[in-house]
């Protein structure tokens, strides 16, 4: 729990609060061009309206640590609060601490940065969500089989965290063997081709565990097109349109939602509350598990 | 101002001016070209001849003045307008596409006129190209050969072939035969006369006054961007033309004849070549004494064109090349220069000069170690040396920082020669040292070469211009099919003797 009383808030911000001016809050997302950015941004806008603050949604196009750092550096003099999802934990931690040292409150969202002194985190515990995915995979496979893990960026922080959790959960199942982690790259065509080739190379695969938004529907599509739903089970992440459809049709067995809109909302909400003097603590936006049974809840939008 | 003759002029140039940064290339030029005449345009290097031709071609736009085609003022805004007016130009700087075949190059303008979706008529193309080549006596040239693989002379012929098959009313030939052998040139002249007989007007730009006198009906002399005079070719003398071009009497330089035989007799051998075999050359051996000017002659594919690069070690070779007994290692130009050899290549725009660099930089580029200290350039020394060379060679430049590529060709040639002189060579190899150079500059270059020979430099002069060999060389070697077929010296050096050995079978 963090309290304003323990925080050396910058005079500039204090004056603004006292004068009753709206705060300028910046929300830096690690890649504003990915599919979640619009949801996060919507949550940010909702919170800004509710809390009567100015919120700007910023961040690099394409995950780029240097770009994220430069942008925050440039805007540091203007920000009254920063919510950040780091491209790289290690690279952003020193900057977060620098911003805090300038008397500007910082929270993390979506991707935590535990190495920094951030005040609080709003989002999913990534290792935990990976663990959940691993458990789901084990469940749909009935405890035995050969699993391939796919990710569009094996080296990204979120991917590493989820993979850690997933492998941990799968290791607990003696009947399950993880054969490889497939790094597909981010272009949709390349993702699909990589999966297609990997399936051909490993005809005895029985499970695909995707760690993110985008190789999930690609794996589901492969299953759909090859009518392999009985042979190959897919567990993945997020509720992209295509993913929802593939869960409905039974080509993807389960998907884990991370409620991006809620994360964006919570990020701004935490900062606004903190500056008002309310104590804040980590917000777990939860792990939503969707299967054929409950997918109808999200399918109608 | 209207000449009475302007009515019959096919193209009339009136008061045309063209300015380049720092140069007034054309200064109110006026000439009229009449139907069915061969009209020679002569003048020193940089007089503005090519600039004028490029304006006729639609390649350059004049800054002032008017051009009348068939009496009507016409703005030749693009090459297309020029061609539509019946004008065809053979450029001094060849305008060929090296990646395409001979036939494709010859037929390029026909293709340009056709619709984009039409099918390329390969067979017709080949046949017509062959016909055009045959007219120049070049039937042996395979129309399917890639132009990039041709010799400069062959390229020049392809360019001419392309021009003559376009049925132009006005054909501009800007130094069309600077790379051609005598026989090829003769053939070209025949074609020119034939075209004249067909009523075609031919503008002929050349530095070969003998040719001009033999061919032209009228002659326009230009100097410093101005028309000096246009005279009918009825018994004018070469001297008269030279005086008009240069604006003064030339000294006796052009009247040189072979010097006494054995001028360098007794001097030590400076360059010795034993069993040299390289692309186009087999088993060539000769030696040159210090202070001797050795001429090398031969027809275009005799191997003489590869000799310079082979001696300098730019191509793979076998055999021994020694200077004062030290053997030169091939493939190491720096060592060759250090050991005393310097090369002036034939292709000045390609292999010769550093066109994007300044005159000063070019002058010292082959002697960098001497003009630097601890790796740093000695700018002051470089400028001094460059100024000295420019003065010695009487090169016309606007300043030492001018890019070489913006000089006229003759002046480029002088600077490249200067670069070689700065290396203090023991052996100077020159390939086509005066190609495209005006009479005045030629004379200057000859006297420079004699001067350095007198200082004890061995000079190897490889040239297609036989008179140049006769005039300067103490001894002439003739090449054919990669071998030496004759060595002439003293009174034995004559045009007939050289040609006989060059063509003997």
């Amino acid at each position: 729990e963090s309290k304003l009383a323990d925080f050396p808030l910058a005079e500039r911000i204090k004056a603004k609060v006292d004068a009753g001016q709206p705060l300028d809050i910046y929300v830096s997302y690690h890649d504003v061009s990915n599919e979640f950015a619009p949801f996060m941004k919507a949550g940010v806008a909702r919170a800004a309206a509710e809390e009567k603050v100015n919120a700007s949604f910023i961040g690099p196009v394409g995950a780029d640590a240097d770009g994220q750092i430069s942008e925050i550096e440039t805007l540091m003099g203007k920000m009254d609060g920063l919510a950040i999802s780091s491209v790289s934990t290690d690279a952003l931690a020193p900057l977060i601490d620098r911003v805090l040292a300038a008397g500007i409150p910082v929270v993390t969202f979506n991707t935590d940065n535990p190495d920094s002194k951030r005040l609080a985190f709003a989002g999913q515990d990534l290792v935990q969500s990976g663990r959940e995915a691993g458990k789901l995979m084990a469940k749909v496979l009935g405890g035995k089989g050969k699993v391939m893990i796919t990710t569009i960026d094996a080296a990204a922080q979120w991917s590493i965290d989820r993979e850690t959790g997933a492998r941990e959960a799968l290791k607990a199942e003696p009947g399950i063997e993880v054969i490889q982690t497939l790094n597909t790259g981010t272009d949709p065509q390349k993702i699909y081709s990589a999966i297609e080739n990997a399936m051909l190379a490993n005809p005895d695969l029985t499970g695909v565990l995707s760690l993110e938004c985008c190789s999930t529907p690609a794996a589901g599509t492969w299953v759909e097109r090859n009518k392999a739903a009985d042979k190959v089970k897919v567990v993945g992440f997020d509720l992209l349109d295509q993913t929802v459809g593939l869960v409905e049709s039974g080509d993807i067995q389960a998907t884990i939602d991370q409620a991006p809109e809620k994360q964006g909302f919570a990020a701004v909400d935490l900062l606004a509350k903190f500056v008002k003097g309310e104590p804040i603590a980590d917000v777990d936006t939860g792990v939503g598990i969707y299967t054929k049974e409950n997918i109808a809840e999200v399918a109608k939008k | 101002m209207t000449h009475p003759s302007s009515q019959d002029a096919i193209v009339k140039i009136s008061g045309v001016t063209k300015r380049f940064p720092g140069v007034l290339a054309l200064d109110r030029i006026s000439i009229d070209f009449r139907p069915g005449e061969v009209h020679a345009v002569i003048g020193e290097n940089g007089a503005g001849k090519s600039t004028l031709m490029n304006i006729l071609a639609g390649d350059l736009q004049p800054d002032g003045g008017e051009i009348f085609v068939d009496g009507k003022p016409t703005a030749i805004a693009t090459p297309l307008v020029s061609r539509a007016a019946g004008i065809t130009v053979v450029y001094q700087e060849l305008a060929l596409c090296p990646t395409m075949s001979v036939a494709e190059n010859i037929m390029m303008s026909d293709m340009a006129a056709r619709s984009a979706v039409s099918i390329v008529p390969r067979d017709t193309m080949r046949a017509e190209a062959r016909a055009a080549l045959a007219r120049l006596g070049m039937a042996r040239l395979d129309p399917d050969t890639r132009v990039g693989r041709l010799s400069v002379a062959e390229m020049q012929l392809v360019e001419i072939a392309r021009a003559i098959r376009q049925n132009a009313r006005l054909l501009v030939l800007d130094e069309p035969n600077s790379a051609l052998s005598k026989r090829e040139s003769e053939r070209l002249f025949e074609v020119v006369r034939q075209l004249r007989a067909e009523g075609v007007t031919v503008i002929y730009v050349s530095h070969h006054l003998a040719e001009v006198l033999a061919l032209a009906d009228r002659i326009t002399v230009m100097r410093d961007g101005r028309t000096i005079e246009t005279i009918a070719n009825d018994g004018v003398s070469e001297d008269r033309l030279i005086r008009a071009m240069v604006g003064r009497d030339l000294d006796a330089a052009t009247q040189w004849s072979l010097q006494a035989e054995g001028r360098s007799a007794g001097a030590a051998v400076a360059l010795s070549v034993e069993n040299l075999t390289a692309p186009g050359l087999s088993d060539v051996s000769f030696s040159v004494r210090a202070g001797e000017i050795l001429g090398i002659g031969g027809l275009p594919d005799s191997g003489k064109d590869g000799l310079g690069e082979a001696l300098f070690g730019l191509v793979e070779r076998s055999g021994r090349v020694t200077i004062d007994g030290r053997e030169l290692r091939p493939g190491d130009p720096l060592a060759a220069i250090r050991d005393g050899m310097s090369l002036v290549p034939a292709d000045r725009r390609g292999a010769g000069g550093l066109l994007s660099m300044s005159v000063a930089d070019n002058v010292v580029s082959a002697s960098l170690p001497r003009f630097s200290m601890a790796g740093f350039l000695r700018r002051g020394a470089i400028r001094r040396e460059a100024r000295a060379q420019v003065a010695r060679l009487d090169a016309r430049i606007s300043h030492l920082g001018q890019r070489l590529g913006t000089l006229s060709g003759g002046n480029q040639q002088k600077i490249i020669l200067g670069r070689s002189l700065v290396t203090n060579p023991r052996v100077l190899v020159l390939h086509e040292p005066t190609r495209g150079i005006d009479v005045g500059a030629k004379a200057e270059i000859y006297s420079i070469l004699r001067g350095i020979a007198e200082e004890g430099v061995a000079v190897v002069m490889i040239s297609s211009e036989i008179p140049e060999l006769i005039m300067n060389a103490e001894r002439v070697l003739v090449l054919r099919a990669g071998r030496i077929t004759g060595e002439l010296s003293g009174a034995g050096v004559s045009e007939e003797a050289i040609l006989a050995r060059a063509m003997a079978s």
């Binding site: 272009d187 295509q242 459809g245 | 071609a57 596409c97 984009a116 099918i119 390329v120 395979d142």
Partner: protein
């Protein structure tokens, strides 16, 4: 190459076909590399020489191939186009959004293709009349068009399905274009690639337009003095490139059937240029053949596939791809003693 008869380096095997002709052609090096690679894979893996796998490769290379055909024209004309990955994304997504908006197929596709041609036109005009080096003009456009695609889609994925509003009938045809099989066997993408390559081969080798592309790339000056409108020809090459990049982008969307402006086609330009240059086109213009480009595309596709089949780690794959590019082009250079 030195001894090739016919149209020289351009289309050596064109006029008369013979084995010795083929072996002297510019493409030989790449061809040898490809055959060696295939032989190796046939022995080293068991999945390679199956019809399923070969058709898979065929499909996987098709979009790259269609774009590489366009790049062949641009490179021969003496220019380069870095904006193709962005065009691929923009045009595909634009067409997809129109389909989702309920448009019939033909107008949606035509508008998509027109956006590609418009981008090509801008590239061409900037690189000719605008006097910018095409590398800079198209690098600028790479960034601008990517930005435009992000703005157009607001960064949201575009998924073409009935739920999002696409008409079921339209969708069926659209999906067939990207996912279908001709005679139930040959992937439609491959069919399109073959058609595009065949047309391009005819245009480049037999038509006057092809002739002019070689001419302007070989020597702009020679072309100009012959009365060829250099700028027009280059602009046409860029427009063709834009059209083909848009077509590939649309097919990609039809296949997946989803795209996302932040990721689709990112970095594709280097793949396309690499394939084309491996196939013998030259950055300095005037050189290149469709056959060579196809071989270049195949080399890259076969190798990607083979590395996966052999279970090579993705990191080593990355390394091997670079190595094979160098070796494939190297074989060409190192085996030819003489060069024009």
């Amino acid at each position: 190459m030195a001894d090739t008869v016919g149209t020289g380096a351009r289309a050596p095997a064109m006029d008369r076909f013979s084995m010795s002709r083929l072996l002297r052609a510019r493409e030989t090096g790449v061809f040898v590399a490809l055959v060696a690679l295939c032989l190796f894979l046939a022995f080293a893996t068991d999945g390679f020489l199956t019809s399923v796998n070969l058709l898979n490769i065929g499909r996987q290379i098709s979009l790259l191939g269609i774009m590489a055909v366009g790049m062949t024209f641009v490179l021969i004309s003496g220019e380069v186009d870095l904006s193709v990955g962005s065009t691929y994304a923009f045009s595909g997504l634009a067409a997809g959004m129109l389909i989702i908006a309920g448009w019939p197929l033909a107008p949606a596709l035509i508008v998509g293709l027109l956006t590609g041609m418009a981008i090509g036109l801008i590239n061409g005009v900037l690189s000719t009349y605008g006097r910018l080096p095409s590398l800079i003009a198209t690098l600028g456009m790479l960034s601008m068009v990517r930005g435009a695609a992000l703005i157009l889609t607001n960064g949201q994925p575009v998924t073409v399905n009935v739920r999002n509003g696409a008409d079921a009938g339209v969708l069926e045809t659209f999906a067939f274009m990207g996912q279908g099989y001709l005679f139930g066997v040959i992937p439609m993408q491959l069919v399109f690639f073959i058609i595009v390559a065949a047309l391009a081969w005819v245009v480049l080798s037999y038509t006057n337009f092809g002739f002019k592309v070689f001419a302007v790339g070989g020597s702009a000056k020679a072309a100009r003095v012959s009365g060829i409108s250099v700028n027009t020809v280059k602009i046409c090459a860029f427009v063709l490139m834009g059209l083909l990049a848009a077509f590939a982008g649309i097919l990609s969307l039809a296949f997946l059937p989803s795209g996302q402006a932040g990721r689709t086609g990112l970095g594709l330009e280097l793949d396309v240029i690499a394939a084309t240059i491996v196939g013998g086109a030259s950055l300095s213009g005037g050189e290149g053949t469709i056959l060579g480009t196809i071989l270049g595309v195949l080399i890259i596709g076969v190798m990607r596939n083979g590395l996966v089949l052999m279970g090579v780690s993705p990191f080593v794959q990355e390394l091997m791809i670079g190595l094979v590019i160098i070796i494939a082009v190297g074989i060409d250079k190192w085996t030819m003693r003489r060069r024009a």
